[in-house]
């Protein structure tokens, strides 16, 4: 009960509702940063966000439907790397393997720039005692079992998250 105790640490409550590589970053970055500041952190993984609790992360990113996403090359001279390549929707929707290519390029660009991988950030979140709650309803809908997710997470529903979020200083839906 963070509000009733004035000496309790600050609390962050996040909802992670998306499972693509680009959307996986914000909850894990905020969770680890808050944990590093001594805050209590809880993340509710629901809908597509639930897949971020699988042991093997296979998050990918699609430029299709992400019109503002800059397409950058992770190799070559700096000027070349800084070019944002125009990607017409027709190309993204019709070329097989385009999503895999875009995912590889984004992962490599992030690595080159010194951004931690989602796996590393999740490991740190575990180390920082971030409370990770997988959504029971999403499990039922998509046919997941408890064993499909990392052992460090717990399973709960909306009420579990809301009770935790009620005493949070910061709540965000991602």
């Amino acid at each position: 009960m963070s509000k009733s105790d004035p000496n309790a640490p600050k609390r962050l409550a996040l909802i992670a509702s998306k499972g693509t590589l680009d959307w996986a970053y914000p909850p894990f970055i905020l969770a680890t940063a808050a944990g590093a500041m001594g805050w209590e952190v809880g993340v509710f993984f629901t809908f597509y966000g639930l897949t971020l609790l699988k042991p093997d992360l296979s998050a990918s990113v699609s430029p299709l439907g992400n019109p503002a996403m800059p397409m950058k090359m992770p190799f070559g001279p700096e000027g070349f790397q800084n070019i944002a390549w125009p990607m017409p929707n027709l190309l993204m929707a019709n070329v097989p393997g385009f999503e895999a290519l875009a995912t590889t390029l984004m992962k490599q660009t992030f690595k080159n720039k010194g951004v931690a991988s989602i796996e590393e950030l999740r490991d740190m979140a575990v180390e920082l005692d971030v409370r990770m709650i997988g959504c029971q309803m999403t499990m039922d809908v998509f046919g997941f079992k408890r064993e499909d997710f990392i052992k460090e997470c717990e399973i709960g529903g909306a009420a579990t998250f809301l009770e935790y979020a009620a005493d949070a200083d910061v709540q965000l839906f991602i």
């Binding site: 940063a33 944990g35 500041m37 010194g114 951004v115 931690a116 740190m124």
Partner: protein, 79 residues
């Protein structure tokens, strides 16, 4: 010439981007004793405002923040 601060430990976060410098600094500080000083080096331009915020939130004092040869240097005292 400002006073020389004698650090107890050095942490190099060069090349790392947000949130790694904050996370690594916090991890290193956990292993240290109260009153000890951590010298942290970073290249992320977001590190100066982030380390100030981290210091305010955790109560670990940011004794000095400076730039040296394009790198950001922080002296943090464990509370």
């Amino acid at each position: 010439m400002t006073d020389v601060i004698k650090e107890d430990q050095v942490l190099d976060c060069s090349g790392m981007l947000c949130p790694m410098p904050v996370v690594k600094a916090s991890k290193a500080m956990k292993e240290m004793q109260a009153g000890q000083i951590l010298k942290m080096i970073a290249t992320d331009p977001g590190a100066p405002p982030d380390m100030e915020a981290w210091s305010r939130q955790t109560g670990n004092e940011l004794l000095r923040s400076m730039t040296e040869n394009g790198k950001f240097i922080f002296y943090l005292k464990k509370k």
